[in-house]
Amino acid sequence: MLERLNAPPARAESIAERYDWDGLVQEDRVHRLIYTDPAIFELEMTHIFGAVWVYLGHESQIPNNDDFITVRLGLRPIILLRDSNGKIRALFNRCTHRGTTLCRKDRGSARFFQCPYHGWSFLNTGKLRAVPWPDGYACDFKDAKYNVAQVPRVESYRGFIFATLNPAAPALLEYLGAIAKPIDEWLDRQPGGKIAVCEANRLRYKGNWKLAYDNSGDGYHVVFSHRSLLEMENRQADVANKGMSYYKGSPDNAPMYMAYMGHGHHFKDKRPAIEKRPGGLWAVEGPHPGMEHYAQSLRQRFGTKAEEILDLASSEPVNINVFPNFSLLGNHIQVFEPISVAETNVTWYGTAVVDEEGVLGGAVEEINALRMRTQEQFPNFGEVDDLANFEEIQRGLGCLEDEWVYMHRGLGIPGRVRTGEDGIITAPATDEAFMREYIKEWKRLMKASPNLAVQREP
């Protein structure tokens, strides 16, 4: 049953009224406060990380009944689990008695959770299982209020699990809207349309979470922020076309593009920059451990079919960004996790090929051995430089009197930014149109008055 909140959290009303949102988010620029103000961050934890669908995890992380992982929905500690009946739930990791977290492990398997503090225990459906020495209580423990609170809406899209505390949110598929198509294409290039999460490159920076989301579709920074990476991966190449070299020269005249797809989601499609043939992706993959050995071995065994197998170890040139915290890029699932107004986790979950139908003829182990190494490259040699730049933005924004941050690349140039009949907005790869559009959606959400709710088992 849904439970109405007694006192809405986060002093939301007074915070929302304190700001002139149209003054903070203008057509061409945003005010530094949206990155630096702790009160705005507090409001985001309900109006964004609460009111919209937020990515929590992948089904392969909880493959069996009773499996769990611990994650966060905004700042709320969550146990994401598959209960004993197979239903996926997002339980608040909080004992109903005194508020203690019930589970302190990152992952595991459990039919029930016993609070370490006073021993109350709960089934993995969230229902209260037992209370020590119940004779000492006059209450009726069958009352639903003693069952663990849980996120009322949890839905998966092809393995990706999202949740929202907003009963009025649209269905997940409707929320994803047009971005579902690139997600489908990203999955459908994998055998069986499936992947499995296989650990992660886990990073953190001292900066606001939106700096990462701003960057997620930014084609303008690539040759500058990642100059060392581009030089590195092309230093021994016969043709300097490795990695993101397609951003060199005049990227705006290249066939790649960005598309804003509504609800804050955007898509950077760099596939047109790559030769469309089996082995086309592999041909521009930078050096990585085991590359020559496995390529030779696969080619000896599979002949020309080896090329498409090798493409599976190669980075898919897309950035599929689902507001506010989920991104598919290369072969990664990237998750943005706000910690505080000026601290953010960016986790690059690796994905492995799962070849249940055996279409790879036994090459799955080898292709994954390659794919692990290709996926480690960007977090090691690219992302660290972006994060250093995000930290330096946060530091620069300490200049209180210089108030504005610009996102107006491409704005006001006739014919450059196009809106299609389907409402999708497209622009050249280096335009900041997606930033302007998603921040408009952010502003709309910050102005809104969402009624969040939790649910408890009856």
Binding site: R202, R204, Y205, E231, E233, N368
Partner: protein
């Protein structure tokens, strides 16, 4: 020994056999009955590891690389159990070419995560040497604490290393260095130095 392929240019040695060697040689190796008691031998390896730490602190990467076998692995697992790198993402997993790439990148001047560079001081302790079946191989465990200053403060990275040394004539070379951060499965801020 003449190698068929230059490991600075291509990567043929990172294959199933090498991965299996990593998994096997880094499982269940710190056993009391394998510990080397001879003080001079323990001192030999302690001095090698201390020299390595100094060269890294001083960013003398060429001399540091010369301590390694031509075909080596620098492995920073992403889980405390280390796992199987064929199936799991690591914090870092470098063969010689990727390590040389890493050093090349740091030297471009455009690696913003290391511009300005970190200043580091490595403390090595608790060095234990273990036999590993053959007299030409030694496994060494050491604990480390890396003090790192960069831009806005000093922090400490801590953990332990497993070195797999192989004899090369009169000297010993590092075949594998496994760097185990105690917080390897947590979100790390700017892990851009060679640990």
């Amino acid at each position: 020994m003449q190698l068929k392929h230059d490991p600075s240019v291509s990567s043929y040695y990172v294959n199933d056999a090498l991965y299996q060697e990593l998994v096997d040689s880094f499982s269940d190796w710190q056993r009391d009955e394998l510990a080397i008691e001879d003080a001079s031998e323990r001192d030999l390896f302690r001095r090698l590891i201390e020299r390595e730490a100094r060269l890294l602190d001083q960013l003398r990467f060429d001399e540091w690389l010369a301590m390694y076998a031509p075909e080596f692995i620098y492995w920073v697992p992403g889980t405390p159990e280390a796992g199987d790198p064929r199936r799991e993402i690591a914090v870092s997993f470098d063969d010689r070419r990727r390590m040389e790439d890493r050093i090349y990148r740091l030297r471009t001047g455009y690696a913003w995560s290391q511009a300005p560079k970190s200043r580091t001081v490595r403390m090595i302790s608790n060095v234990e040497v273990f036999a590993a079946g053959q007299s030409a191989i030694r496994m060494v465990r050491s604990n480390y604490l890396v003090g790192e200053f960069r831009v806005d403060g000093t922090r400490f990275l801590s953990g332990w290393c497993g070195h797999r040394f192989v004899r090369a004539g009169e000297t010993w070379q590092i075949r594998v260095r496994q760097v185990n951060l105690i917080d390897c499965d947590q979100n790390l801020r700017n892990p851009s130095i060679i640990i």
